[in-house]
Amino acid sequence: MKLGALVLLAAVFVGGAAHADRLDDIKKAGVLRVAAFDSNPPFGYVDEKSRQIVGLDVDYAKAFADKLGVKLELRPTNPANRIPLLTSGNVDLVLANFTITEERAKQVDFSVPYFSSGQQFLAKKGVLKSPDQLNSLRIGADKGTTNEIVLRRDFPGATIISYDDTPFAFTALRNGNVQAITQDGPKLVGLLANVPDKENYEIPEFTISNDYIGVGIPKGEKRLVEFVNETLTELETAGKAQAIYDAWFGPDTKTPLPRLFKIGDKQTN
């Protein structure tokens, strides 16, 4: 008798799991609930004029909602809440500069990456062209960052001078104490945007390590993952992914950053 009840219970659970498909639920509800950052420009932040959350992540979220033909509902989040929001079922997707890591992939599923932020360099124009030069240069890094560790590990010939923060490292670069400084690409463009003589500097077009940003999806929602991945691939082939990128990091923006990674590219690390 007891065993029978257990089997029945198990059948209900299995059946329930197989039946409850998030993609169908979204279509039925007519709403796609997406968690995004509200204070991390240009990925997700509140626009001063429209008072709406906008950004690169938000544009992708809109594309998903449009494809499904449903309304988009944005929920502001902070880094720590991204996984709990997904596991508790409060949102359907997370698009919040969410770096794909093995540790996180145990708790949530990830789409293919749609953005990559890599460790890059800022140097005076014409000084730095390719990574092999790094071994003979003096490079400023921020104390206590993974940038410093990666550089020391992969380029043992480089002389690394660690400073307290990025603006300080930039001052050292400006004074000629170091020939390049290293940080994540988006941070470097942000820094360069505020430099008065920015025409004298450049961010060479290569990265030495990459963080891949993907869409966070509740664990086990296979059809939803497939839908997200298909949509991302379509956006890339239709040129829409490039248009979204250019809107936030294109040459006409305040923070121009060359697009080194396209959706579907092989991941290098």
Partner: protein
């Protein structure tokens, strides 16, 4: 002998020991330079000539009354703005000095980095001001009767100064001088802000790589204490010899 200590991998202990070597080299060279500078500065300060003692007063005012960290930034950034570009490039590139004869290498070493020179300059200028004042205090501690006694014996003022006053002043200034040396060892840690790879900088690096914060800074603390203890021990030793020679209560 394995270098592993306090649960830190040997490579990191090696980093810390390298850092310690830089700390010792930096503070020792700054102490030597600052002692020589201190003698000159003290002489200028007590000189009756305005052309000497006015600049000396200004120097003391500037270097004793501003934080060392600010002075380090000054030499690092302003220093590199003052130098012409070719000289700066020379400083910024590593140079290896090879001493030898007929194709044989006797000694080969790398010249220190620009960061080291900036740190050395800052620490020297700063310590010079304090040491000069310790010397002046030593001179003032010699009772007036000593000088008068010398003069009454028919010695010239210069001879009185060098034979009577200075030896006593040196003894007065000895202990405070060692105190300034200890300060120099500790102050050298501030040069980590401009990236001198001394002991504190090395501990920070080890911490970044291993997250073994307590172990890294624990070893650094022990090494600092060791360096200062050696200076202190030297002082004790000199003091004891004096006592033997001149009897207890003799001026240290």
């Amino acid at each position: 002998m394995s270098l592993a200590a306090f649960g830190l991998a040997p490579i990191y202990v090696e980093w810390l020991l390298w850092g310690f070597a830089v700390t010792l080299l930096l503070s020792a060279s700054a102490c030597v330079a600052a002692t020589l500078g201190g003698v000159l500065l003290c002489a200028a300060r007590i000189s009756p000539l305005a052309v000497l003692h006015v600049p000396a007063r200004i120097y003391l005012g500037v270097f004793r009354n501003t934080p060392l960290l600010v002075q380090i930034f000054f030499w690092y950034f302003a220093g590199s703005a003052i130098f012409p570009t070719p000289l700066l490039d020379w400083f910024n590139n590593p140079h290896t000095v090879v001493l030898g004869f007929g194709g044989q290498t006797w000694l080969s070493f790398r010249l220190p980095s620009f960061e080291f020179w900036a740190g050395f300059t800052a620490l020297t200028f700063y310590t010079t001001a304090f040491i000069a004042e310790e010397f002046r205090a030593g001179l003032r501690a010699v009772p007036a009767g000593q000088r008068e006694g010398g003069l009454s014996l028919g010695l010239s003022p210069a001879l009185v100064f060098f034979l009577v006053v200075v030896p006593q002043a040196a003894r007065h200034a000895f202990a405070p001088l060692l105190g300034q040396y200890m300060n120099a060892v500790k102050n050298s840690s501030l040069t980590m802000a401009i990236g001198v790879a001394e002991l504190s900088y090395a501990s920070r690096q080890v911490e970044t790589e291993t997250f073994q914060t307590f172990e890294a800074f624990g070893i650094a603390t022990v090494l600092y204490i060791l360096a200062v203890a050696v200076i202190e021990g030297t002082g004790e030793l000199v003091q004891r010899r004096r006592e033997k020679k001149y009897g207890r209560g003799a001026l240290s």
